[in-house]
């Protein structure tokens, strides 16, 4: 009678910091040992971290990559306030209490294998996770990743070896990791970084969509994570081309397990407005439910 499928899906682990790199723009890449979280995380999952014993609350961060065999988990975060700044001070060898994986992940539809992944700023991590997951699944999945940032990217961009129709000439900067996986990607910024598309991620996405034949376009689904205005633009673009779109949202959190309703956002449903919890009902939502049809 009882549906208790959700039980025991989140693990609390004392995690050793394996690596912690600082990048320009107050960005940091953190690798921890968290075998149980690594084994169960999916693209779109996040974790809830104790940044410092001095703080009363944890902080939510998206999971960027995992290696289930080796048991590590990667995060990319920007130090923006007290919690993330204290986290940035923690060094290799120290331990952090981390809860995860949490949340409803992205759900790509096999009828639409041409996945367009749009990540902005520290919204890049779940897009990288999704790209890796789709690469692992192989054909017919064909992800294309567009990343935008207004501070230097937290990796050394590389000229792409993969031709992508519709991408303007000279826009060749790609993420090396994705190149190695054989997943095409392009970078966008308004800062004039070499090889990057000069403008918004959604303008580059539009150029790519325009170059697709109508039959191919019907195989496209959009996935996005990043600042709210960017998500809204991605949702608008998807609506314009009549494409399904899933977005990952952020909201302040306390428990991150569905207990406090602190992270609730308003969602449109057939039955009218409803408050849904970003932590367990999300963070991934159908864009139409968030921004309207």
């Amino acid at each position: 009678m009882n549906d208790r499928a959700h039980r025991d899906t989140i693990f609390v682990e004392e995690c050793e910091i394996l690596a912690h790199e600082a990048h320009p723009g107050a960005q940091h890449i953190l690798r921890i040992r968290a075998p149980r979280i690594a084994a169960h995380a999916r693209a779109g999952s996040f974790a809830h971290l104790q940044c410092d014993p001095l703080l009363p609350m944890r902080r939510p961060l998206s999971i960027m990559r995992v290696d289930a065999q080796a048991g590590w988990v990667d995060f990319l975060y920007k130090a923006v306030g007290e919690g993330t700044r204290l986290l940035a001070r923690r060094g290799t060898g120290e331990t952090l209490s981390v809860m995860g994986p949490i949340g409803t992940p992205f759900s790509p539809d096999p009828a639409r294998p041409r996945t367009l992944l749009i990540g902005g700023g520290v919204g890049i991590p779940p897009m990288l996770f999704l790209a890796e997951e789709l690469k692992r699944r192989g054909a017919p999945w064909a992800p294309f990743v567009i990343m935008g940032s207004e501070v230097p990217f937290p990796f050394q961009a590389r000229p792409s070896r993969m031709l992508v129709p519709g991408v303007p000439e000279g826009v060749i900067a790609a993420m090396p990791l994705l190149e190695d996986w054989g997943v095409p990607s392009r970078l966008a910024s308004r800062q004039g970084y070499p090889g990057c598309f000069e403008g918004y991620v959604t303008d580059l996405a539009r150029a790519w969509l325009e170059a697709l034949e109508p039959a191919r376009r019907e195989e496209v689904a959009v996935f996005s994570c990043g600042p709210h205005p960017m998500l809204e633009a991605a949702a608008r673009l998807a609506r314009e081309y009549d494409l399904p779109c899933q977005v990952s949202l952020e909201e302040f959190m306390a428990c991150a397990v569905g207990g406090c309703a602190g992270c609730a956002v308003e969602i449109r449903t057939d039955a009218g407005p409803a408050m849904k919890r970003v932590c367990v009902d999300g963070p991934v939502f159908d864009a139409r439910q968030v921004f309207g049809a």
């Binding site: 549906d3 959700h6 025991d8 609350m57 306390a254 397990v257 309703a261 308003e266 407005p273």
Partner: protein, 321 residues
Amino acid sequence: MTAEQRSLLALDFCGLALSSPIALLSGCVGFGEEYTRVAGFSNADVGAVCLKGTTLEPRLGNAPHRVYETPAGMLNAIGLQNPGARHVVEKILPTLDFSETRFIANISGSTVEEYEEVARIFDDSPIDAIEINISCPNVKAGGVAFGNDPEMSARVVEVCRRATGKPLITKLSPNQTDIAHNARRCIEAGTDAFAVINTLMGMAIDIESRTPILGNRQGGLSGPAIKPVALLKVHQVHQVCRDHGIPIIGQGGITTAEDALEFIIAGATAIGVGTALFYDPLVCAKINAGIAAYLQRHGMGTVEQLVGTLVTERPATQCTS
């Protein structure tokens, strides 16, 4: 924990057999099952689970942001988001595992009549007890507006008493001048127990935009920041309850076994854990173990022996200066 340690923790609360003095607090654990997502967490580790505040009709609650970290604590302004009492009784209670713990409803209303109606709906359900929340700081009508007025508090307790034979726990607000007087009136009106305290009212401002951070402008402060206030209120209410044999669920900032022991010594029979779960979802097992170890160390056979044993007469000491 050994079976012997477990037996130290068992107690009677208004006729309810609790396996541990810990109650998970209303609003922190949804409708009872949410924390079971966490591996290693079990409702069987706690004596009782208080469900989210419930009103007659469904409520969407307040606009974001609803929670915000503050020094040694947090503000919340959820606004009693809940699916309505009938939905809770018909759809949620049947999914709860009553073999693991005792479940307590937490009820709220904008009018005295609404409290009565909600109490009646829960009376006709398997719920183990009913907690009357007359201290919610996050709703426009009812809530703390009732809780700060001893006569209104007593009226709410009185109508709920008429509506149910189940144990009634009245949750008192710290945002009032004379909590002991209010407690006295609620005892006369028929409450079986108290929960002390609910959150303290507070606020936070974003200085760049000069706007309140919480969607509701103000919220309730919880966590270690309020512990000393809560402890004093429990002590004050205990003075009133003692002679009537009325138990208290002491709460407000309890994070460790030592915190819990302070509340028990001050007069709490059971202790609540809310905000502490957000930092450490597995904290209850640690608090249980710490309380049991303390009782063994002090040669006590049950946690009930410790309740209200605060020593106020200081032993005579020699003045050396």
